[in-house]
Structure formats: C-alpha cells, structure tokens
Amino acid sequence: MSEQTYERVVNHPRFQELCRKRNRFALVLSFIVLGVYYSFVMVASLTPGLFSSPLAEGLTWPVGLAAGFAIQAFAFLMTGVYVSRANREFDAMNRAIIEEATR
C-alpha cells in the first residue's frame, strides 16, 4: 500500500465512521453475549438451587439445562445479527472507501 493510498483512506470521512460504527456494534454484541454467558456461569456456581429448579410447576426439566441450550441458540442468533448488518451496511461502506481511495 502506498503512502498516498494510506493517506486517502485515513482521511476519508467514511473510514473513521466505518471503524467507529463497526467497533461499537461488535463491542455491544460482545458485551451482550458475555453478560448472558457469565450470568449463567454465576448462577451455576453461586446459586445451584436456582440452576436445578424446575422450569415450571409440575415439570422436572431444570432451568439451568434450558438456559444452557438457550445460550447455544442465542450464540447462533447473535452471529446472524452481526453477519446480516455487516453484509448489508459495513461491506457497502468499505467498498465505497476502497474504490474512492484507490481510484
């Protein structure tokens, strides 16, 4: 990459915007995933009674097991949320920046 191209990308107003938007989005999603997962870890280690209590009256299926499966489904869902926005919005911004900077 030449110094010239570098300057053009760095000074491109949408480059800073892309980095800011994408990083913020990735951070928010990461905190959501970590928050959900560590709540699960803490419930399992600090309040095992809640972990093993039944989902509803008359059932034996424990809250912890349902939560574990739900977290796995949730992880997949979160990757889907990121991919769909990145495919739609971030890729288009990225392409525009590269095209203008290397023209």
């Binding site: 870890v41 095992p48 972990f51 489904a73 990757t79 590269i98």
Partner: protein
C-alpha cells in the same frame, strides 16, 4: 487377556476374536472387544472415499497456497462445516455425552462455554485475521513486529499445541479402536498416523477440508438419527426424558445440579475462560480462516459453524440424558458392579446399539473413528505449516525460500509429525494423558491468543512485550499443569498439588496479558518505535482488507 488378531486377517477375512467385556474409559486401561465387522466395513468405505478425494485434491495441489489454504477457494458454507468438523472432536462427542450420562447437567456447562466463544471470534477476530494473514496465525501476530522472535514464538506455541493435542488424539484413537473395532491398540495408532500422512502430504488443505466436511455431515447426521430414535422411546417428550433420567440415575435429582467441580467461582471462571479463549488460539482452527476468498466469507463461515456446533452440542447432551434411561437400566450394557461396560465414554456407543442394533452401532463407531482421523489431519497440517512457512521460510531463510522448497519442507514436516505422533502414541499407551488436552487448550489460551489479540487491537504492543509476555504465558501454563492436580498428583503421584486448581487459565492468561502490557509500555528501544508506527498501516489493512491476500483462481 485378548487374543491377537492381525490387522490384515481381520480386514480380509473379518476373523472374529474372543469377546471380552472391558472396563475403564478411553483414558486408562481398556480391554479389547470382539471384532466389530460392521464398524470396520463402514469405516473402510469412509477411508476409500476420503482417499479418492485425496487423489482428486492432489491433482489440484500445485502451489504453496493450494497446500496451506486450498488456494483460498473454499466457500463460507463449506468452511463453516469444516470448522465445525475441526471442532467437534471425538472427545466432544463421546466425552460430553459420557459426562451427562455420569453427572447430568455439568455437561451443558461445558457445551455452553464451547459455543459462546464463536460469536466473540466472529465479532473480534475472524475478518481481521483473514485480512491480515496469508497461511498461518503467526503471519498476523508478526505482521508489524520483528519477524524472527515473534514468528519463532508463535510457531513454537502452535507446534506445542499441535503435538500435545495430537498425542491425546492418538492415544484416544487407540483406546477407542480396541473398544469399538476389537483391533489391537498399536494397529489403530499406526493406521491413524498413516492415513493422516496420506491425506495431508498428498491432498494438502483441499483434502483436509473435504475430510472435515464429510466427517461433520456424518457426525451431525448420525447424532440426529441417534437422538431421534432414542426420543421415540420417550414419546418425543423432552420432559419425559429428564423425569425418567432422574428416576433411573443412582444420583437421582443431583443430576440436575452442577457438581462441586463447577460450583467454586474461581474454578468456574477459569474454566469458562479456557473454554472461550482456547479455540481462538488453536492453530488448526485459526488456519481455516485463510481458506476462504475474503473477509465476508470468513464472517459467513463463523455463522454456519456456530449453528452446527450449537446444534451438535444440544444433541450430545440429549444423547447423555436418553442414555441414562435406555443404557443405564439395561443389564446387557452393565458389568457385575452396575458400571457401564467399557467406561463412561461409551454411553453414546451403547445407546446406538440399544436403539439401532448392530448396523447402527457399526455406523456410529465408524463415525467416531472418522472424527479422530479428521481432527488429526487438521492438526498435522497446522503443525507442518508452522514448521515450513514460519520457521523454515521466514525465520531460517528470511523469506528467501522458493515455493517448491517451502512445500517440500511442509511435506517432510507432515511425515515427521506423523511418525512422531505414532511413536508417542505407542509410548503413552498406558499413561494418564488427561493433562495433555488441558495443556493444549491452556497454551492456546495463554500464549497464542494473547499475542494474536493484542497484535490486532493494541497499537502499543512491541516486539519485546509480545515475546517476553508470550513466553511467560507459556511458562506459567506449563507450571500450572505440572504443579497442579493433573501432573503433580495424577502422574507424579504426590499426595497434594502445589498449585491447587485444575483449571488454571485465569492465572496464566492474566500473567500473559499483564506481562505483555508491562514489557511493551516500558520498551524504549528503536524497534518499539517502528512497531508502533507500523500499526497505522496494519489497521487500514485489517479494517478494510486493502492489500489482503487474494484467492487463487484455477
């Protein structure tokens, strides 16, 4: 003990051996079972098919890029399946279902941790890794740092993870083969080693990828059928499965609570860190991101992989819970003391026989073996690339090796790793090898991951910081394992461990991150200035993909 059955005779004439009920798990003593003809036939079909693919792939493996990354021409969906294939090891399949069979909900604690690492890899690492790297994660870690020390460190980290993981897989394969196929331990180890060398030496990444894809489809399909057939016995009611499991398990309602090994917060956090960050430092997993054409395909691969992995783990847990009732109450699968025949890891295998008879047992056994084969192939390729691309071409030849030389060294490295894996697999037959998996994941999380992560995100990282910090991460991980319960008590037979925690990632990762930071901020050398200056160029490439390696068109 058991009668010896030569492999050739067993394969040619399917000569039956004396049936013997075994005890113990995959780790530790196992006794050889009767020769399982159906399993061997199905496994042979898999071997013939994958060798055919290897022949096809060998015609297309001409350049170094073909060898290491299949020319970057794998699609996002294919790579997602292959990542899932790399990740769903026999230990995950048999181990998780076995853990649920033995202890109940503990299993889901592991599977949730193994799954949530993936969205984080996607948000933080996947696209940037693809944009910055060429063949190995050391490309990324050493992108703006001094090549010789950082390449050497990253390649050593990669090789250490590969070798420990490989030994664990080889020993597991040998034990599994004794249990499932009724063949001798040594034959199994040699067979796995030789097939692995054939796939990787001739077919490179293209053959390795397709072995992973086929194995992933077989494993996902096989487990779906297994759970489906087991659920029939419970009228497809998940509630009945759990209610019956509580009724039939000797621990009763205790299987619904996390066991003592998890309810200590430091252990829980330390374990969860290793489960989450370990995969982001496994060289054979990271290498998969260079097989796709661009950042977009890298992103898609994680999406598909997370879906397949999450689904697979739900199946593995359900296999354990249904087996508690179906296998645990059937005297045919229990020995005189009421323990499961063949050890705790056999729950899924017995379940397949109980619900699908000998044919299905054969199928699931073959799938379990194919799983090991696929994982060791991925490991061998990652180890070979650390030797040929990082150590030979960049450190020794300083980037002046020709592509031909580099590929030749790569192939020699695969053969060397194969022979080493066979020899070590034979040596460690009766050793306690549980610590090797712990060490592989611990090193991945405390050496490879911190260096890689900070090199991507932290401008202030310097060569000195990465080298000293990464090295201290390595030393602390090894020390925690050697002085901890796994080696100090388990192998060296001391009464009490010096380091009390079995799960140590919290400590070794903290040491690695803090010392990388400390030795970077105090670095006043001229090299440190260059390292920080170069970050701006790295940032542009990592964020936009400008200047990234393009795929090779054939």
């Amino acid at each position: 003990m058991s009668r010896l059955v030569p492999l050739a005779a067993a394969l040619a004439a399917f000569a039956p051996a004396v049936a013997l009920a075994g005890g113990g798990a995959i780790e530790g003593e196992v006794e050889k079972q009767s020769v399982n003809v159906m399993a061997i036939v199905m496994f042979l079909i898999f071997v013939v098919g994958t060798l055919g693919i290897t022949y096809w792939a060998s015609k297309r493996t001409r350049s170094a890029s073909d060898f290491y990354t299949a020319g970057g021409g794998i699609t996002g969906f294919q790579n997602g399946l292959a990542i899932a294939g790399d990740y769903m090891s026999a230990a995950a399949f048999l181990g998780v279902s076995g853990m649920v069979f033995g202890k109940g909900v503990d299993g889901v604690f592991y599977t949730a941790g193994w799954t949530v690492g993936w969205p984080l890899i996607l948000f933080m690492i996947a696209e940037r890794l693809r944009n910055l790297g060429k063949y190995t994660f050391a490309d990324v870690a050493s992108y703006r740092l001094e090549q010789t020390p950082i390449r050497s460190l990253a390649a050593s980290g990669a090789l250490a993870v590969v070798v420990f993981y490989l030994i664990a897989q080889m020993v597991g394969a040998g034990k599994l083969i004794q249990l499932l196929f009724g063949l001798e331990y040594a034959y199994a180890v040699v067979l796995v080693g030789v097939l692995m060398m054939l796939y990787v030496t001739f077919g490179g990444m293209l053959a390795t990828t397709w072995v992973q894809i086929i194995k992933a489809c077989l494993l996902l399909g096989g487990c779906t059928i297994l759970v489906g057939m087991a659920m029939v016995q419970f009228g497809f009611s998940p509630e009945t499965v759990i209610a019956k499991a509580v009724e039939n398990h000797k621990a009763g309602t205790d299987i619904l609570s996390p066991s003592a090994s998890i309810s200590d917060p430091i252990t829980a956090i330390s374990l969860s860190l290793a489960l989450m960050c370990g995969p982001a430092g496994l060289p054979h997993i990271l290498m998969r991101f260079f097989t796709v054409p661009d950042a977009k395909a890298a992103r898609k691969s994680v999406f598909y992989a997370t879906g397949f992995i999450g689904y697979f783990f739900i199946l593995a847990v359900m296999i354990g819970f249904t087996a508690i009732t179906i296998v645990g109450t059937n005297p045919a699968y229990l020995d005189a003391t009421g323990k499961i025949v063949g050890g705790g890891n056999m729950a899924a295998i017995h379940l397949s026989k109980a619900v699908g008879g000998d044919v299905f047992l054969g199928f699931i056994s073959a799938v379990a073996f194919a799983t090991i084969l696929a994982v060791v192939s991925g490991l061998a390729l990652a180890g070979a690339s650390a030797v040929s691309h990082d150590l030979y071409a960049r450190v020794i030849k300083k980037g002046h090796a020709t592509e031909r030389e580099e590929m030749l060294v790569g192939r020699i490295a695969v053969l060397t790793l194969g022979v080493l894996a066979i020899v070590l697999g034979l040596l460690f037959e009766n050793q306690n090898i549980a610590f090797m998996v712990s060490l592989a994941f611990g090193l991945a999380a405390s050496v490879n991951f911190p260096v890689l992560f900070l090199s991507i995100f932290w401008k202030g990282l310097t060569t000195r910081g990465a080298f000293i910090g990464g090295f201290l991460g390595l030393v602390s991980a090894v020390a925690c394992v050697v002085l901890g319960p796994a080696v100090w008590v388990g192998v060296l037979k001391n009464p009490a461990p010096i380091f009390p925690y079995e799960h140590y990632a919290l400590f070794s990762m903290t040491i690695a991150f803090v010392s990388i930071w400390l030795f970077s901020v105090t670095d006043k050398s001229a090299r440190a200035v260059t390292d920080k200056e170069a970050y701006r160029y790295q940032l542009i490439r990592s964020e936009t993909g400008l200047g990234a390696e393009a795929p090779v068109a054939h």
